[in-house]
């Protein structure tokens, strides 16, 4: 049984296994971010009855490569009054924090490969959920410092909005997650997924799922909540002054954050790698099938995010704050109280 295997191999792993996994995850995230930009443009085009990019390669499939080359060779401009160190550091921090968060997300259940317990994440951490929250919390610095260091009033306004928004919605997201943790009895993402063998948590925690998804949209600065970069009023907000690959890093960070948020939602609410069509698997091939299921579910959520972006208008700033503090937060607390009472009552009976 896969679940039994999960327990005997917490601790130092072979360093080369971790290295190989790291290279794979990094490559996967970079590719995913690049092709998400293409997907975003294609989806937006179809929603607006256009065709979208179709010139580079078949169906425009090489468009991300062309974009990358363009970003790399553009002039790297920098405003005169900037803070030199922070202006350079902030984009790296953005991409770094986004990528680091993915290290603990299990793409499939632990697999037995000739007696070696293969975890399908880079680091098998006991408190994986908290780790993801901690790393995303550091991402706030990237946005805030980037906007501040650029010495541009639009950037500063965007940075301020973004920090306030992230801090407010972080609370709501954390409260939404507590319900899941109560049900799963664990902060280990793998155990959380294993706890959904009988019913996905979206069935038992629909409110938490909704709250998490709304909060996730706000945390990734996606469209109903993209106040920090509202182009019509702030000309792209915190990254106004960034060009070339520095801008590319912000872009990469943003799309990787989308992947992370959707993967986390998949693991927490949509049963992770657990298949809809039951198929017992324990070897590495079964593990790969699990990865397919995981990425399939995450892609549906990613599509949902794009769909929302191209159909809904932007919220006004005060409404955004009201929604975060006066609606999402109390609902999250309510969810904790209800879940806790039900679990306690069932344990008592």
């Amino acid at each position: 049984m896969i679940a039994d295997l999960a327990h005997f191999s917490i601790g130092p792993d072979y360093w080369w296994v971790v290295l190989i996994k790291g290279v794979i995850v990094l490559g996967f995230l970079a590719t995913a971010a690049a092709y998400l930009t293409l997907a975003e443009r294609k989806v937006s085009a179809h929603i607006q009855l256009r065709i979208g990019p179709n010139r580079v390669g078949p169906f425009g499939l090489l468009q991300p490569a062309a974009d990358a080359v363009k970003l790399l060779f553009k002039e790297n401009t920098a405003p005169a009054g900037r803070d030199k160190l922070l202006f350079w550091l902030a984009p790296a921090l953005m991409a770094g924090a986004a990528i680091l968060a993915y290290a603990v997300i299990p793409l499939s259940g632990t697999t037995n490969v000739n007696g070696y317990a293969l975890h399908w994440n880079m680091a098998h951490v006991n408190v994986a959920l908290l780790y993801v929250l901690a790393i995303t919390a550091l991402g706030v610095y990237a946005i805030f410092l980037g906007g501040w260091a650029a010495n541009n009033k639009y950037s500063l306004l965007g940075a301020l909005r973004s920090s306030a928004q992230l801090i407010s919605y972080e609370m709501a997201v954390a409260f939404a997650l507590i319900g899941v943790v109560i049900l799963a009895h664990s902060l280990d993402l793998e155990e959380i997924v294993n706890a959904q063998q009988h019913a996905w948590f979206i069935v038992m925690q629909p409110l938490a799922g909704l709250l998490y998804f709304v909060g996730a949209l706000a945390e990734t600065n996606r469209l109903p909540f993209d106040l920090p970069e509202a182009e019509t009023e702030l000309i792209a907000g915190y990254h106004t002054e960034y060009s070339s690959m520095r801008f590319g890093f912000y872009f990469l960070g943003e799309y990787v954050n989308m992947v992370t948020v959707c993967s986390l939602a998949t693991a927490l609410f949509l049963g992770g790698w657990l298949p809809l069509i039951p198929w017992i698997h324990s070897d590495w091939l079964g593990g790969l099938v699990g990865v397919m299921w995981f990425l399939g579910k995450a892609s549906i959520l990613l599509f949902l995010m794009m769909w929302i972006r191209w159909t809904l208008p932007r919220l006004r700033y005060d409404r955004l704050m009201n929604l975060g503090w006066k609606v999402l937060l109390p609902l999250g607390l309510l969810n904790i109280v209800i879940t806790g009472s039900v679990v306690a009552a069932r344990a008592a009976s």
Binding site: P12, L86, L130, A134, V140, S163, I167, E233
Partner: protein, 266 residues
């Protein structure tokens, strides 16, 4: 030297350097960012001591929440450069004296500690028996110490609650392997609510007092508000300043919570 040893030296050096950066930076924002660096290095040290839960909480609470507000305020007020404290002879001598005394106390304290080698080690069974949260064991999984069975597993049987909950763990050493097998959060939580319940509750009471104090200080008394309204109604309304508007959407409506107003509630 193992990997962990090397990492301890790197993280320790980073912690010292960033701590020095907090007091020696001439720009306040770099001081604040050094403090963030210091907290993250400390989190790495916690991680190397197998305290994963503590490390994550350290980053979330201190680096992610408290310091964001500090950086926020510093960036908003944008104070100018400050003189480095190294120029001040008196500050330098005083600081060096404090560092010397602290190091001496620390050395004395660690020399006085005798590690309790003779005591029984906490095995899965003792932890499970002693911490009331682990009332459930999974039958047929004796090697694993996972205290909570998988969902819907019919083999899960409740065992009798440990009758001597807190005392059973006193003087027992926790070994990282056991703690990891049980779960970091479970052990920390169990300890907080049994052995250390009094300090824990007192600390939370202290935080509550601080929160109530902050609310009291920011809240206006109703009487003062009424007086201010009366004064405002006697005064003719100010004409709107021409050309001062920031443009649509930039300045939120007066009712909107200003960005700087958020920290209190966060």
């Amino acid at each position: 030297m193992t990997q962990a040893d090397i990492l301890i030296y790197i993280a320790g050096a980073l912690a010292v350097v960033s701590a020095a950066g907090v007091v020696m930076s001439s720009q306040p924002i770099y001081s604040a960012l050094s403090l963030v660096g210091n907290m993250v290095s400390l989190a790495v040290l916690f991680l190397l001591l197998n305290a994963q839960f503590l490390a994550a909480v350290q980053v979330i609470v201190y680096a992610g929440a408290v310091m964001v507000l500090f950086v926020f305020i510093i960036a908003l007020l944008s104070p100018g450069r400050e003189d480095s404290p190294l120029r001040d002879r008196r500050a330098l001598i005083g600081g060096a004296a404090i560092v010397y005394v602290t190091v001496q106390i620390f050395v004395l304290a660690t020399n006085g500690t005798t590690y309790k080698k003779g005591l029984p080690t906490a095995t899965c069974a003792t932890i499970r028996e002693a911490v009331p949260a682990y009332r459930l064991i999974q039958a047929g999984q004796p090697a694993s110490c996972n205290p909570f069975p998988l969902h819907g597993n019919e083999n899960a049987v409740p065992i009798a609650q440990a009758n001597n909950s807190a005392a059973g763990l006193n003087g027992v050493l926790f070994f990282p392997d056991d703690v990891n097998r049980v779960g970091n959060v479970q052990v920390t939580g169990g300890q907080l609510f049994t052995t250390f319940v009094l300090p824990f509750e007192i600390t939370s009471l202290l935080l509550l007092v601080a929160a109530v104090g902050a609310v009291y200080l920011t809240r206006r008394s109703p009487g003062r508000e009424r007086a201010e309204q009366a004064r405002a109604s006697r005064r003719p309304p100010l004409p709107a300043p021409a050309g001062e508007s920031l443009g649509p959407g930039v300045a939120a409506s007066p009712k909107a919570p200003a960005a700087t107003g958020e920290p209190e509630s966060a």
